[in-house]
Amino acid sequence: MKFYEYKAHDIFRRYGIPVPHGVLAAKPEDFVEPPLPCAVKAQVLVGGRGKAGGIRFAKTVEQARDAARAILGMTIGSYTVKLVYAQERLEIAQELYLSLTIDRSARAPLLLVSARGGIEIESVPEDKLLRIRIPPLVGLQPFVLRALEKRLALPKDVAAQVSDIARRAYDLFKGEDAELVEINPLAVLKDGRVVAGDAKLVVDDNAEYRHPEYAELDQDRTPLEEEAHDKGITFIQLDGDIGVIANGAGLTMATLDVLSLKGGRGGAFLDLGGTDDPEKVKQAFEILLKAEPSVIFLNIFGGITKADTVAIGAEEALKAFGTKVPVVARIKGVNEQRAKEILADAGMHSVEDLEDGAELAVKLRGAR
């Protein structure tokens, strides 16, 4: 789950991490007493808003409203801006960096701190980065923070604030089931205060059941992806034209790869997972058809999946939607023979293996 900046700030405040004062607006008139001077920022879940013109500066209420007028409704990435956030302009003396992520190889949370912030962290030289792996079972101990303060080579008072923010950010990371907490820049102000200049927060989708308050948050999904998500279907839109339905994430990715090797391009993929429930298969087809693929490639390798009921679901979907979209189907599983008959009767192209299926799908797409 991703968070709009203003929402991430709300959560940061809850954990006592200092953030700038800000006011949210869905229409220009919502700015009655914005902090001035301020930066009016588009609230989007994708990067690149600055370049797209989604951040403007204002010194008066009228300017803030003008900025809101210009930004609201703007398209950034494939998303329309619905909210803007007016944030007090900070008098920044120095920009630092702080983040918490998960180090997969070490199987531990990783605290990254640098006295060089405000730029992409990948461009910071390794010797200017403090990498602290936190043993998850014992957490972030005070001695680690003391060492951090010493190594930062910042004025004592500033280092103490950074260390306090690190401790609170780790509490947030654990408490909110986060995959990423990133503050860039972590701003040292001219008056000596240290404030989170930006706030990035990503929370583990699998922990949603522990945080029901996040269930209603906007996510960066297309409308069709949103519909699929609500139905509990893994569906992702890509920029090609061939629709793929497969079972299992690895096989789905492999199917897209083979299509590309054969000269095609996946336009959307849908992972059926372990289901062979014809109703679920029908639902899956329905969503995929809405994405208007040039051809559909159904690739199922089931150990215990019933091939015939998958075929029935596919057949019913095609009938119900009266579609002319050609379907190439490769189904391995229980009752495979029966499945092939159903597919053939319904006018689908039944193939034996992945490569042949991909080749045929690319050919049929060319024929249209």
Binding site: R107, A108, E122, D204, A249, G250, M253, A254, G303, K332
Partner: protein
């Protein structure tokens, strides 16, 4: 012989009375596995396919001498179930459950390790030693005993590749499904080192995918191995920033791309298949 699972494995099934637990207990028994106990709190005293069910892991282990466990417990309860199994004294744990919160795995994995327990998964199809025993959901009929080890982050894609190997007469020692989550109990390098030490395994097939750096680490380790490694990497066409079905399958900040993994394997002299079914050809070409 094999790795992790062998004829001495006495398996316990956690969540045995659920739909998945019952179904796969039958399949594991059919595979030849010694399934000695099941655990479902509140269902102690009943049985599933003649396997006795206990209320707790402790009771199951003390009554049956179970030394391994397979976990089918739903995600919100999986951490508790896994820790209960570790406490009961089993030495091997295969967690099939998907969608376990990553912070639960961050707690669980170092804990299990400190107690000397090997964890496979989560979000994985489990482990199968061909002709001997299975802890998980891999389909029985695709396996044939032979000298090749298999390590995979995927489920169905693994079945596809193992099936192709078996059809080509390339049987397996053990197939280890390490799972598709960012934090797993056994990573690729650890699984490779098990196969390197196994006298019966002649070489290893690695099925990787985008996300993380485990393939790059495995490629580095493969240089030090005496046995050949063959690889497939899924997700060459996956766009950055999209989570491709597995929690761990995501290209983030330029990290975890298929190109980087394929290059790491190529640099280490590990042949990489372009198609899943090319794996048997690569193995035969190397012979």
């Amino acid at each position: 012989m094999s790795v992790l699972l062998d004829a001495s494995t006495r398996l316990m099934v956690q969540g045995i009375t659920g739909h998945q637990g019952q179904f796969h207990t039958r399949a594991m028994l059919d595979f030849g596995t010694k399934v000695v106990a099941g655990v479902t709190p509140g269902k102690g005293g009943t049985d599933v396919h003649a396997v006795p069910v206990f209320d707790s892991c402790e009771e199951a282990v003390s009554a049956t001498g179970a030394n391994a466990s397979v976990v089918f417990v739903p995600a919100p309860y999986a951490k508790d179930a896994a820790i209960e199994a570790v406490e009961s004294g089993v030495k091997l744990l295969a967690i099939i459950t998907e969608r376990i919160p990553v912070h639960d795995c961050l707690d669980l994995m170092p804990y299990a390790r400190a107690r000397g327990v090997t964890v496979i998964g989560p979000n994985c199809p489990g482990i199968a030693t061909a002709g001997v025993a299975k802890a998980g959901i891999l389909p029985n009929h695709i396996f044939a005993p032979g000298p090749w080890g298999v390590i995979s982050r995927s489920g169905t894609l693994t079945y596809e590749i193992v099936d192709a190997m078996t059809r080509a007469g390339l049987g397996q020692t053990t197939c280890v499904g390490i799972g598709g989550d960012p934090i797993n109990g056994t990573n690729m390098v650890e699984a490779l080192s098990l196969f390197e030490r196994d006298p019966e395994t002649k070489g290893v097939v690695l099925v990787g995918e985008i996300g993380g750096t485990s393939e790059e680490e495995a490629a580095r380790f493969a240089r030090t191995m005496s046995k050949p490694v063959f690889a497939y990497v899924a997700g060459r066409t996956a766009p950055p920033g999209k989570r491709m079905g597995h929690a761990g399958a995501i290209i983030q900040r330029g990290m975890g791309t298929a190109e980087s993994k394929v290059k790491a394997f190529a640099d280490a002299g590990v042949p990489v298949a372009r198609y899943p079914r090319e794996i048997p050809d690569l193995i035969r070409d190397s012979q």
